[in-house]
């Protein structure tokens, strides 16, 4: 497979940054999954598409709005009616799903080279993300495993909560470097570590 080169490389500065009073309140890193795949079902075919995703990934995503699941290596969540994002640390999930979802059921779009995946974890993760997105990031409104689609100006972003203090973000690769710099600037106030 073609090696995926990070879009963040020129601005990815490992180490501790920002306000050092009290150490780093959050940690940022690029997760670099091997597969990022979008599945879209035709109207009325949602159940078949979801069954294919669950069978291919050994997951158990339900049809509820924004419902998601995750494991150490895989995650999936709904982000729009009849649309799901499937993420795998291994390469090849696009081909696997394409084999299982025919054109009468829906479409499979391999976005592995088109999205950048960023994780933000720490006690102030909600605070920092609230600066960027008009979403309620509290645990009650945004439970663990749920996914949401949102935007900060031109940065269309898919977000999945993967722990009480961790969020995984998926942004367009072409905007990723700019978004990363914005995220780092937003985190300076609380202090952050790039892992």
């Amino acid at each position: 497979m073609v090696e995926i080169v990070s879009a963040l490389e020129p601005v990815y500065r490992r180490g501790a940054h920002g306000n050092r009073d009290g150490g780093s309140a959050i940690t940022l890193w690029e997760t670099q999954p091997g597969s990022i795949v979008q599945v879209t079902s035709w109207p009325g075919k949602e159940g078949a598409a979801l069954a294919a995703i669950n069978a291919a990934a050994s997951l158990d995503v339900t049809a509820d709005a924004g419902a998601g699941v995750f494991s150490d290596t895989r995650s999936a969540f709904g982000f729009a009616p009849g649309r799901w994002l499937m993420v795998d640390q291994a390469e090849g999930m696009g081909d696997t799903l394409r084999d299982r979802i025919d054109t009468q059921t829906g479409t499979v779009t391999d976005l592995s080279h088109g999205r950048t995946a960023i994780a933000i974890e720490g006690e102030r993760a909600e605070w920092v993300l609230s600066k960027l997105f008009a979403l309620d990031f509290s645990l009650a409104a945004f439970p663990v495993s749920v996914g949401k689609s949102t935007a900060h100006h031109e940065f269309f972003t898919l977000i999945q909560r993967t722990a009480t203090d961790r969020f995984d973000l998926y942004v367009y690769r072409s905007f990723a470097r700019s978004f990363w710099q914005l995220l780092c600037t937003s985190a300076e106030e609380v202090g952050y570590t790039v892992d």
Binding site: P43, A65, F79, P81, A134, S149, T150, A151
Partner: protein
Amino acid sequence: MLIPCPYCGPRDLSEFTYQGDATRVRPDPGSTDQAAWNAYVYDRVNTAGDHSEFWQHSGGCRAHLRIVRSTLTHEVKSVAYARDSIHERSRA
């Protein structure tokens, strides 16, 4: 202003794009009735009160919505997927 997207739940206005008056009915594409086309393209009622509108959740799930909004208070009275209302119209 918050718009309660049927899929995403209540979201900020900044995530949405206004797509126009939902009360207009497009004339038959084969029609040469100049008055009907002129009315379709240019005539607007400018309602003071409940108004039916198309919006897109462009900064979210991308769904096209049909919303009834009070132009006086910005209260959103109802929200539905646009495709559902269009199907209802075509069935009627």
